[in-house]
Symmetry: C2
Subunit: 332 residues, 2 copies
């Protein structure tokens, strides 16, 4: 297993220690947990955002803890949902009296555990609401999901709902805005290679040397089909077409786009995809308001990429533009 790790059982704990050492101005760890919270928590008078899920998607989710995005990130084992008690610890640590919004990606385990934590918090009179991100248009139902999966579009939910919370909006309003982003965001990905979960020690699946998998999930769940590798422009079109089958985006509509790498794909290739994505949207007279390119929702060392399209309105544009200051996403 070609990894720079110590004991596979300790990767999450050691990673979290390394994150806190790297970003002490942003985050601290709640002792005895795998929860990272903003260094100054709780923040009185503002809604707090809690996200999380299995590890192995770095910089998601701990990399987005900071001003204008998350108040806490809860890390499960690699590709494994965090337990309810850990999510509950996060909620207690960040609630500043105005309530807590949980941002959950649509995986069965995550939903069950985050909802249990929500119930535990309500018993202690903490106001909690949640939203479920399900941006992946690839498949309905999958290995770990009922309905569409949540993938890279989650970053835009963090950014925009985080901005709403930063502005001092009520829990109901922050939830409404997060729901609006979820309603308007779609993603579609593909992969060129698998990854190795440290505790498993071997590849999650195998692809032939000339093969790619379209619609693959961020834990290696099957996608829609396998096919021969195509050119970057063809791949980009295939992903975009699938998205546009699922959501109506009309001429003159404004969108934000995110070209996200899964871990091992060079930035060079993401930029080459971005180039053609701009051309395709431009040809359709869809206006690109904002472009984000990079590794935000990864799958360890998997090679591949996803495209995310978010349909914007004035409210979402203003919140997307506002300041964010986190280890992995900064908007000055």
């Amino acid at each position: 297993m070609k990894k720079i790790i110590n004991n596979p059982e300790n990767v999450v704990n050691e990673m979290l220690e390394g994150i806190v050492k790297a970003h002490p101005k942003y985050v601290r760890r709640i002792e005895g947990t795998d929860v990272l919270v903003r260094k100054t928590s709780p923040i009185k008078g503002k809604v707090a955002l809690v996200s999380g899920g299995g590890s192995g998607h770095e910089p998601s989710h701990a990399g987005f803890v900071g001003k204008g995005m998350l108040n806490a990130a809860v890390s499960g084992e690699v590709f494994t949902s965090p337990t309810p008690d850990q999510v509950f610890e996060a909620i207690k640590a960040v609630d500043g009296g105005k309530g807590v919004l949980l941002i959950i990606k649509n995986y069965t385990g995550d939903i069950m555990n985050f909802e249990m934590a929500e119930e535990m918090a309500e018993l202690e009179d903490i106001k909690v609401k949640h939203v479920v991100v399900n941006d992946d248009v690839a498949v309905e139902d999958s290995t770990y999901t009922s309905g569409r999966r949540g993938i890279a579009g989650t970053i835009l939910v963090h950014k925009i709902a985080g901005a709403a919370a930063e502005e001092g909006m009520s829990l109901e309003d922050v939830q409404r805005i997060a729901q609006k982003v979820i309603k308007n965001v779609r993603s579609m990905g593909m992969s060129l290679s698998s990854c190795i979960v440290p505790a498993a020690g071997k590849s999650s699946f195998e692809l032939e040397e000339d093969e790619m998998e379209v619609g693959l999930g961020i834990h290696g769940e099957p996608g829609t089909h396998r096919e021969k590798i195509k050119k970057a422009d063809e791949i980009t079109k295939e992903l975009l077409d699938k998205i546009l089958e699922d959501i109506e985006i009309k001429k003159e509509d404004e969108v934000a786009i995110l070209v996200n790498g899964l871990g091992a794909t060079p930035l060079m290739e993401l930029y080459i995809m971005n180039r053609h994505l701009h051309k395709l949207l431009n040809d359709k007279n869809i206006k690109i308001y904002n472009t984000i390119v990079g590794n935000f929702m990864t799958s360890l060392e998997m090679a591949g990429a996803s495209i995310t399209i978010l349909k914007l309105d004035d409210e979402l544009k203003q919140l997307l533009d506002s300041i964010a200051d986190t280890p992995a996403f900064k908007n000055i």
Copy 2:
């Protein structure tokens, strides 16, 4: 060849188009060249910084064009020095009357071509100086170098010299500060796998399934030796020990550290290295003033990492702390 590209001959051009589409607030391209400059260029009354080199190291170098870092980045073909005329175009586009500093990594081709551009600029009465970054302690002389190679430490030269230029310092002062960073910075890397140069279509070298190469260069040049993969903590110690053989860092000295990924190594592994690097320096009573973790000087989809240590003084600390706003490095 598992890559998301179109024609291998067009990767640099298409990547640059994709970068400009992604970051229009930061950069524009000088027509007919592979030079990206700050959107507002030239800036009157400030020294301008020009860096560059072969492509394939993204986000180096175009990702660092912006406030507080570079004024221009010149991209050669993959792992190939840019030509003198391209560097000359960059110099002309960014000179704001106060002179231009070229930041060159120590590779024979880069030095030759950047120095020729410097001579071309001087014939047109543009004040130009240069510095040569040679932070890699792995080997003296290599496939493409006489003396030590320039690798990830270059990022810290960009940051600190860029801050000096932003403050309005003279060309001589900005050069002096860049030289001070170069004198005080050392790096050492290792690799778990090779990468594929698009035009070559096959791996630059092969490593056995249980092997790593220590001291490997960012173009796949040989390092000091190959050995069995060790645990992350052992690798981290081996890299740090080699650095500390080369530069004297005493108790109570303050340093900045950079744990840099080569492209395909998950952030998880970089943070695990960072954790132990903090412990090792802490055990030696060396004070860590600043930590940077991420993919900054990559080698396409190579798996591996490097450690960089920069010895600081008050002047360097203040410049390291100042604001930077570029696509790939932001300091708020």
